[in-house]
Symmetry: C2
Subunit: 431 residues, 2 copies
């Protein structure tokens, strides 16, 4: 079996550290790839469900560019639409006609939403959503959940992080996920002071198991927001189009006021979208929000083609089915070796970890052993499945998974005993 080396990635990284702070930053930082010497840092080319790193090693990709890749790298249908638009024009002096078409398409698709607004980053639209909530209500406070990630602007960050001052977080109240009584208590305490509540459809805290909403949680939250005039914002940037095509709030059976989309919209072409209800349309019109490339036509044409392709191929159902089969089999294999693989969140974007070693070394070793054999598993971020992953990919993945378990079993022998499933998984695993 393959045993990759990463000489050129390391060489590029050494060059990078001289001219880029940290070499590679943000969620792509090698700091979260442990041990780093067993991971590729630079990708040279990609096609379908696979990429090749700078050293020419091939990987089946379970990160999917951290979400954006959803119908396969270099999907011919999406690229054709993008290239056709590029020939006509991309970033020009006027809005492109395709912008209207895309907005109409999205408003038809996401049926609880009446309008769309386009930007570039996910954070552009989560930030805008909060400004809208404040302006619509003439209130300041924003509710969010502890560990919920909504981008990198100062108010979105956690206290004590570098570059953040206390005023940035003064009106942000972080609550415990799924704790409805706690939420109700805070809403009653800050009577008429709360502008909005922002949350992902289900909870995806960093470095932790994902947690589904408890039965009835969203319906109670929706009712509470309605009653108290709180703008309900769904951050569907990561989840959107990996559970269904209609927006994750539809999947969980509730109606928000604003929904933020980004990653999977255009299969990697840079675009994000805020969608909302008619009640907020006038408010949106009066808040100035814009960016140099927000009217570029190519990502809009790509989004339109990608969404249509996803509908046609029933991409969310496909991804959920692939994930369900793959990760349930992986759990069984783990169990055969005496390990427990916790898989939380949706099968199309699960958080996966071996629970047998609290130090995480076992889990990191297993991920790295898979990765150096061509199955790209990062240890501390949720994974992503795409609609381009094939049966061959699944079989190859399961082969490597088995081999990697053999390797770590040999290395650690009986050092880690088989533990019971973790609480969060028992409650939330949809397998």
């Amino acid at each position: 079996m393959k045993n990759y080396t990463f000489t050129k990635s390391q060489e590029l990284f050494r060059r990078a550290t001289k001219v880029i702070p940290g070499g590679i930053y943000g969620h792509y930082s090698p700091v979260v790839l442990v041990p780093p010497e067993k991971y590729p840092f630079y990708v040279s080319n990609a096609e379908g469900s696979r990429f090749r790193d700078a050293d020419g090693n091939e990987f089946i990709d379970y990160m999917c560019a951290y979400g954006p890749m959803v119908t396969g790298y270099n999907n011919p249908v999406v690229d054709e639409a993008a290239l056709k638009q590029l020939k006509k024009g991309n970033c020009t002096t006027g809005a492109p006609p395709v912008m209207v078409e895309l907005a109409e398409y999205l408003v038809d698709l996401i049926f609880s939403m009446d309008w769309a607004f386009f930007a570039k980053n996910g954070g552009d639209v989560t930030n805008y959503a909060v400004m809208i909530a404040r302006d619509a209500t003439c209130r300041k406070k924003i509710l969010a959940f502890k560990g919920g990630y909504h981008g990198v602007e100062s108010w979105m960050q956690t206290p004590g992080r570098h570059g953040v001052i206390e005023e940035d977080l003064k009106h942000i109240i972080r609550l415990d996920w799924n704790d409805y009584p706690g939420l109700e208590k805070v809403v009653n305490h800050y009577e008429n002071d709360i502008a909005g509540l922002i949350a992902t459809p289900y909870h995806v805290p960093a470095f932790s198991d994902s947690v589904m909403p408890e039965s009835g949680f969203w319906q109670k939250v929706e009712a509470l927001c309605r009653k108290n005039g709180i703008v309900l914002i769904v951050d569907d940037i990561r989840h959107g189009f990996r559970l269904n095509m209609q927006g994750s709030s539809e999947y969980f059976g509730f109606k928000p006021d604003l929904v933020c989309f980004c990653k999977a919209l255009a299969n990697g072409y840079p675009i994000s979208a805020l969608m909302g209800t008619d009640a907020l349309k006038t408010v949106v019109s009066r808040i100035f929000h814009t960016g140099s490339y927000w009217f570029s036509a190519v990502p809009m044409a790509a989004a339109l083609a990608n969404l249509k392709a996803m509908e046609q191929m029933q991409a969310p159902e496909t991804m959920l089915a692939i994930g369900k089969e793959l990760f349930s089999t992986m759990k069984r294999i783990a169990s055969d070796y005496g390990y427990h693989l916790a898989v939380t969140g949706a099968p199309s974007m699960p958080y996966v970890r071996l629970t047998n070693d609290p130090s995480l070394m076992l889990h990191q070793d297993w991920c790295a052993e898979c990765t150096r054999r061509g199955i790209y598993f990062t240890p501390h971020h949720n994974w992503f499945v795409s609609a381009a992953h094939t049966r061959e990919d699944i079989l190859q993945t399961l082969d490597v998974v088995d081999e990697a378990f053999k390797v770590i079993k040999k290395k650690y022998a009986d050092r880690f005993r088989h533990e019971a499933p973790v609480e969060s998984e028992k409650e939330n695993c949809p397998y």
Copy 2:
């Protein structure tokens, strides 16, 4: 002469208003195109210095996508590099090798800067610069100039704007441009409280004449910042690569700590860059800042090709020369008709207005008469020249300019007397 109609633009706009708040938002909003019925809103295709609107009307473009277009729409050299990269991959699971190459190239090019960090919006990097200044100094206050535009995040906006709360602006102190004594007074008053100063290289307030720095202004500002440990941030998003290739601070002879680039970097492909000095590199490494598409390879490959092309064709010098010739001739023509055309700022991105009518109607009418004859002049934003504007473009522009003056002279007769040049122009006009 041509006399355009905009039926299809109006039709698209009517459709848009149903599904997009305001139809078209931000700096592309038709609200600033007065009278709107004389402007195209939608662009169907673009090439070189020209675009065609949805109705098929052709325009010589003096907005250049509000800045990003700098070497011509669909520049073959830039597009070829972008397409070559697109075939390999764009938004993938790792950083692209071209990211290292682009950072190295920029560090060589902008010689006072030691590193580069890439994002998407201009605001991504101005916001990051402020976070860096605060973290580096353990201080909170940020100095900026009244009317200076740095993006749309809450702290960048002006008081009273919708969606902004007082806490967003609590530590932002806005000063008068070119008022060094005023700046010194504030710095002394807030002794050891000021984290950073952010400013454009010269002042480009909205709806107003541009104002150059007074002789020695930047040198005094730099010395004051050094003395007081204030991080000096240049927002070169609009100006960058339209004055020179080395960064506008070099053009004005001073050395900042951080420089923000965006618009002209990649001829419209979406990328922004923060560059800085080694002293701040460690600080940058510890502030988490990222976005879904920030590691995409295509805009980086496009930036590299575009910057090289600009160096080769001496693009800034070309744009300055084209602008100098064009706008000085336009001033003369205006004068022949008894009007005064104020042209402030650099000839490659001047703010142009007829001064004879304080109600602005005369100026708006003249811009619209040029636009409906194929010369796209917006009335209340600075214009942009590109290196793709040709001699033929200039001659055609001057023909239309003359014709439009004839039309407004006939319409208004002697209603507006010839006024003296405005103060800001006398002081700052580089013609």
